[in-house]
Symmetry: C2
């Protein structure tokens, strides 16, 4: 939903002040410009109620509501692979709350996995400046455990084991396709 514009200043930890979403979008723009991958964020779906069509100028939306997306936020293609993912941040320092994910996103990721997609989630510990690429199948494990009365969050130490950590770079900001390569290699998608 609408994001406040962020103050961008460089640091050895990347660009502090950018949201994770902005970092991903910037990285995708780099990958696109260099013919490496075509990954886009999907627009937020809107329920239109009232639209004015003034003469000789652009249509103006006068009443509309945000709708719940039925998919993840990002998808696209990289070297023949279909990629599908969402991006989540937490201020926690010890574990990642599963309430950041929604049932419809998990369902969508499961459907994409069945079609042999490369599916994952970005999981960022903002206060620690640590970013992880968590394969969807690992996410499902913790999600399903929670539904069976298990923990409502994934401990950082488990994320360290189950994910690919991404170190911030300059071009792209998040060189996440390196982690995707490793994931494809490990999982044999």
């Amino acid at each position: 939903y609408p994001k406040k514009s962020a103050i961008v200043h460089h640091s050895i930890f990347g660009k502090r002040g950018m949201t994770l979403e902005q970092e991903i979008n910037e990285s995708n723009a780099y990958y696109l410009a260099h013919d490496i991958a075509v990954i886009h964020k999907k627009p937020t779906p809107i329920q239109l109620v009232k639209v004015d069509y003034p003469k000789r100028s652009a249509a103006v939306i006068r009443e509309a509501y945000f709708r719940k997306p039925s998919t993840t936020d990002y998808n696209g293609i990289y070297h023949g692979y279909y990629l599908d993912f969402d991006a989540k941040e937490t201020n926690n320092k010890l574990s990642f709350p599963l309430k950041n994910f929604h049932e419809h996103q998990i369902k969508h990721l499961r459907a994409c996995i069945k079609q042999s997609g490369v599916c994952f989630a970005f999981v960022k510990f903002s206060k620690l400046d640590r970013l992880f690429l968590l394969p969807a199948t690992k996410l499902f494990f913790y999600w399903d455990q929670q539904l069976q009365g298990g923990r409502k969050s994934i401990p950082l130490k488990n994320i360290e084991q189950d994910s690919y950590e991404i170190n911030y770079g300059f071009n792209p900001t998040i060189p996440y396709l390196d982690a995707v390569d490793k994931m494809i290699n490990d999982f044999g998608v």
Copy 2:
């Protein structure tokens, strides 16, 4: 953009009164429900200007504008393949006007082809009740020819040669993945 709701009545030609977009969405819902493919229409991007956040109720968009999409309308995954396409209709009977396509869509399709995506356009002659799946590489041929002073439309007889014609069905309305199978077989993506 906002579409009038259509009156749906079945006929041997499919469901007259539905827009091509509605037919595709319905087919995608069928494919999704049957674990055959995960293809979604992307929401229209909106430029938000004014959003009200009333207490105890949902955010209301009070001023916003439609933005030009930077990609095609549809993408997703089918049996490991990344699919990317747009859908266009004409009332013409003899040729399909290239002005239905936009430079940014062609550019996006070219980028996806470079990544080995399965890319195409649906081209419908509404008055003739004929629907074709035109591979993107064929579309590029006519597009480039036009830029070099060639025809501003693709003659129906060329579309008949270069495309896969889709016959309307019941479940799904447009069994277009059959045509995608043929295309993958012919082009060896």
